[in-house]
Each structure stands twice: as C-alpha cells, then as structure tokens.
C-alpha cells in the first residue's frame, strides 16, 4: 500500500499521473474508432509529420501546442494532397500508404534537420519520446479540455460513426453522411495527437490510441463495452507504466508506451486462451 502512495507525494508525479489518466480516457475512447476505421497508420503519420512544427516552436520559445497545431495542419494538408492526387496522381500511382510514407519521411527528416543542426539546443529527445514528468498545470488544463471535447463529440456522433463504420453504403441511405463522419473523426484524431504528443512524444503517442482499443477489441463483442474496456485498459496501463518508471528508474514516456503494448499482448493472449477453452 505504501508503495502505491509514495509516488503520489510528489507534485511531479501527481500531475503526470493525472495527465496519463486523462490521455488514457481520450486514447481509449477515440482509439476504438481509429482502430476500427483502420486509421492507425494515419494517426502514426500525423504524429510523425508534425515534428517540424514542434521543433520550430521549441526553437522560437513558443508554446508547443501552437507549433504542434501548425505542424499537424501542414502534415494533414500534405498527406491529403499527396494521397488524393486525382487520377494518375501520386496516390493513385503509388498507393495511398506509400504516398503517405513519402510525405511523412520528408517532414520527419525536416524536423530532424532543424533539431539537430549545430546551432540549435539539444532537446529533440523530449519531443520524440515525450516529457510526461514535465507536465504543467497548463498542460493538464489542455488535456482536460481535450477530454471533454472528444468525449462529448464521440457521445453525440456515436450512432452515426457506428452506422458509417458498419456499412458505408447504407449509411448514406440512413442519412448519416459518411464524408462528414470521416472528417469529424480526423479532426478529433488530430486534436488528440496534438495534446498527447507533449506527454508521450512524437514516436510513442500512437500507443495510447491503438493499444487499448486493439486490446479491447480482442475482449469484447459490442461497441459500448469495447469503448469502456479500452478506457479502463488505457488508464490502468498508463498508470502502471508511470509507477514502473518511478520504481525502476526508467524513461517515463517509454515506460507508459511499453505498458500499453504489454496490455495489448496480454489481452490478445487472454482472448486466445478463452477461445481454446
């Protein structure tokens, strides 16, 4: 019991735990839609492609949220441009995934170039792997606001998203515009990535969106329980990861990401076992 309480005495850990819990709620709920719509790669691309924005903000001393927002808008536009491309455009010739890979590599390289050039101060690791222990009260407010917005939007859009995800063609007949649902999901995804990237970093943020939902999918059969399970798994794993980082003295962001992936593996193993029995 004492082991559980000891980290809570420090302000840093209190804030970090709260941040991880909030991000877990968002990641778990939104992640279910991301995974079912097969947007994992898209989420990854947004996270990596926004690096130049983050680096520029860091260099200019501007708030990371601002740079990240600009970076994510640029990344989203670049991806949209290249992935569509019209007939005989890049997306058509290369396949959507390859076209996105090209854009992401270029943007990510640009971010690295800006961050590693000799005049710039060190600190790219914080952008890449997150700085959850550096969570400020302002960060917590942003995360809380994000959680409210995302949960409210998902609650309102639930049946539309369900209808579109289940049967896109019929969804139109039911009056659930698939294009609008797609757009809403992408905006929510961008928001979630933007806020979560501060804590978990560019490279690891996708873990909180994908792992809990993928784990829940293996354990549940209906959407409602899946979302609930994903949120529970995300928060539990996130908190466990932080405790692990505290006691084992390892990087916090990586520990949280590792715990999330471990939760996914456990859930898959449990589902396999259940199927055999």
């Amino acid at each position: 019991m004492d082991a559980l309480i000891e980290p809570l005495r420090e302000g840093i850990m209190q804030r970090a735990l709260l941040e991880v819990a909030l991000l877990g709620v968002v990641g778990g709920a939104l992640g279910c839609w991301v995974v079912l719509a097969q947007l994992s790669y898209g989420a990854e691309s947004l996270a990596h492609g926004m690096l130049p924005g983050l680096v520029l903000a860091s260099l200019a001393g501007a708030p990371l949220l601002l740079g990240g927002a600009a970076g994510i808008v640029v990344a989203a536009l670049a991806v949209a441009l290249v992935a569509r491309g019209g007939r005989r455009g890049p997306g058509d010739l290369l396949g959507r995934d390859t076209a996105i890979a090209v854009v992401v590599t270029a943007l990510f390289g640009l971010g690295a170039l800006l961050a590693l050039a000799p005049e710039t101060p060190a600190g790219i690791q914080g952008l890449l792997f997150g700085d959850v222990l550096g969570t400020t009260t302002a960060d917590l407010l942003a995360s809380a606001a994000l959680a409210v917005v995302v949960l409210a939007a998902l609650a309102l859009l639930h049946w539309r998203l369900l209808a579109v995800g289940f049967d896109r063609a019929s969804a139109r007949a039911l009056g659930a515009a698939p294009a609008a649902a797609d757009a809403a999901l992408l905006v929510l995804l961008a928001l979630a990535v933007l806020v979560a990237v501060q804590a978990l970093g560019n490279l690891l943020v996708v873990a909180v969106l994908v792992a809990p939902a993928a784990a829940a999918r293996a354990l549940t059969r209906r959407m409602g329980p899946m979302i609930a399970a994903a949120v529970a798994i995300a928060v539990a794993a996130g908190v466990a990861g932080l405790y692990l980082s505290y006691y084992a003295r390892i990087a916090a962001g990586a520990a949280v990401a590792g715990a999330l992936v471990a939760a996914f593996l456990l859930a898959r193993a449990a589902a396999l076992l259940r199927a055999r029995i």
Partner: protein, 275 residues
C-alpha cells in the same frame, strides 16, 4: 568537396551511399509495388533496440540489429505482405514497442553513452569498413535476387490468386523479398538512421514512379536518383555541418514534391510508354 575525398571517412561515406543507392534501385521498386513501405520503416526502427542491445551486451552490432529486425520481419512482415485486416495496428504497436525498448535500454539500462540520436538519424560520416562491406553485400544480393525472383514478385504483386494458379510458389519468393528488404533496411540504418531508412529505400523509388511505369527503366532511374540524392546530401551535410541522414531525407522529399508538381501540371510526360 574534392579535397574532402582525401579523407578516409568521406571515402567510406561516399561508398556507403553509392552502394545503398544500388540496393535502393534494385529493391525500391518492389517495396513500392508490394506496398512494403511501412514494413521497411518498421524493420529499420526495430534495428534500433537491437543495436543498443548489442552495444550494451558486447556482441557485434550487426547481429543485434539483424536479430531484432528479423523478429519484426517474421512477426509483422507476413501480415503486411498479405495485406490482412488490422495489420496496420499491429505494425504501429510493434514499432512503438521497438522504439520504447530501445530508448529505455540506451538511457536507463545500459546508460552506455550510445548516442540515441546517431542511431535514430544515422551517422553516415562515421561508418566503418564493416558497414560498407554490408552495404556491398546487400547491393549484390538485391541485384541478384531481383534478377532471379523478379518475375515471381511481380506475379504475386498483381494477383496472388492467379500466381498460385500459375504454380508460382509465392511463399518462398515472398519470404526472400521480405528478408532482403529487412537486410537493406538494417544496412541503411548506419547511414541515415533507424527512422529515416525510407529516405533511401522508398522516396527515390516513389519519385521515379511518377516518371515511368515500366519496371526496368524504373529500377535504373531509382538507382541513379538515389545515388544523386545520397551524394548531394552527403556533400551538403559536410559543407553545412548538418546531419547527413536528415539532409538526404529533405532533399529526397523536395525532389519528390517537384516531380509531383511537374506531373500534376502536365508538363512532365512519362517516359517509356503510356502513363
């Protein structure tokens, strides 16, 4: 620049990019045709914890890199090549796990002073003879395998069902392709880093795809473009004291953007046949 070539490390760096360009030319086409871009990126990233492990436990770096990369390749690669549902979530998580493991091993477990950044973004100017030899081996294997197995890779790429009907043993040929891409990705890691391997292996091939759609010209153009971008990136990085891997990536991306724009504006006519 020419004086710089007197320096042995520059000679090695030059040899490295040129050899990797050959491999990129031979394999890039297949990576694009078979949709293996994400897989190649993942394998390269998986090499990162392998390298840290090797450095920390004291066994040859190549072994570590290849070991973890092959684990990744086996686990995720077959799913990627078949394009099965939900594989993108699995690949994304494998990628995250590899990167998280790598950074924990490097910073906390071994605290070995292994520069995480040089592993992630490459240290082209510090490649040793061993790495150049690996690049030469990969280039050779890629060209040879491409010549031998190219038709099978092409058949399966377009229609797996028809390939089976024609008696093409897609399984073994597929495995060879995935293994080769993994090897090339590991070789590229020392030059451009675990996170930017696509800059050499994918982006040039994608760029030249916008110009032609016949396999042979495509491969040759890719090799040439990768060589030009690699050398130019190396030179720029040396002159401007910038990280070479990132420089090559930005250069490659810029060329791609130009090619896409030129194509979109209709000014570029595709070579070698109908668009």
């Amino acid at each position: 620049m020419l004086e710089a070539l007197d320096l042995p490390f520059m000679q090695r760096a030059l040899a490295e990019v040129l050899l990797l360009a050959v491999a990129a030319g031979a394999l890039g086409t297949w990576i694009v045709l078979r949709g293996l871009a994400f897989y190649a990126h993942g394998v390269a990233a998986a090499a990162f914890p392998g390298l840290v492990l090797a450095d920390g436990l004291g066994f040859p770096a190549l072994l570590g890199a290849l070991g973890v990369a092959l684990l990744f390749a086996l686990g995720v690669g077959r799913l990627a090549a078949r394009g099965r549902d939900g594989h993108d979530a699995l690949t994304a998580l494998a990628l995250v796990a590899a990167l998280a493991a790598g950074v924990v091993l490097a910073s906390d477990v071994f605290a070995s002073g292994v520069a995480v950044e040089s592993l992630l973004f490459g240290s082209l100017l510090a490649v040793g003879p061993g790495e150049v030899r690996l690049a030469a081996l990969v280039a050779l294997l890629a060209v040879a395998a491409g010549w031998l197995l190219g038709p099978r890779w092409l058949a399966v790429g377009f229609d797996a069902g028809a390939a089976r009907a024609l008696g093409v043993r897609a399984g073994a040929a597929d495995l060879a392709l995935l293994a080769l891409v993994a090897l090339a990705a590991v070789a590229a890691v020392s030059a451009v880093g675990a996170l930017l391997a696509s800059a050499l292996l994918v982006v040039p091939a994608a760029t030249t795809r916008l110009l032609t759609d016949r396999v042979r010209p495509w491969q040759l153009a890719t090799g040439a473009l990768a060589a030009v971008e690699g050398v130019a990136g190396l030179w720029l990085a040396f002159e401007l004291d910038a990280p070479p891997g990132a420089t090559i990536a930005v250069l490659a991306g810029g060329v791609f953007a130009l090619a896409a724009l030129a194509r979109a504006s209709g000014r570029l006519r595709p070579l070698g046949g109908a668009a």
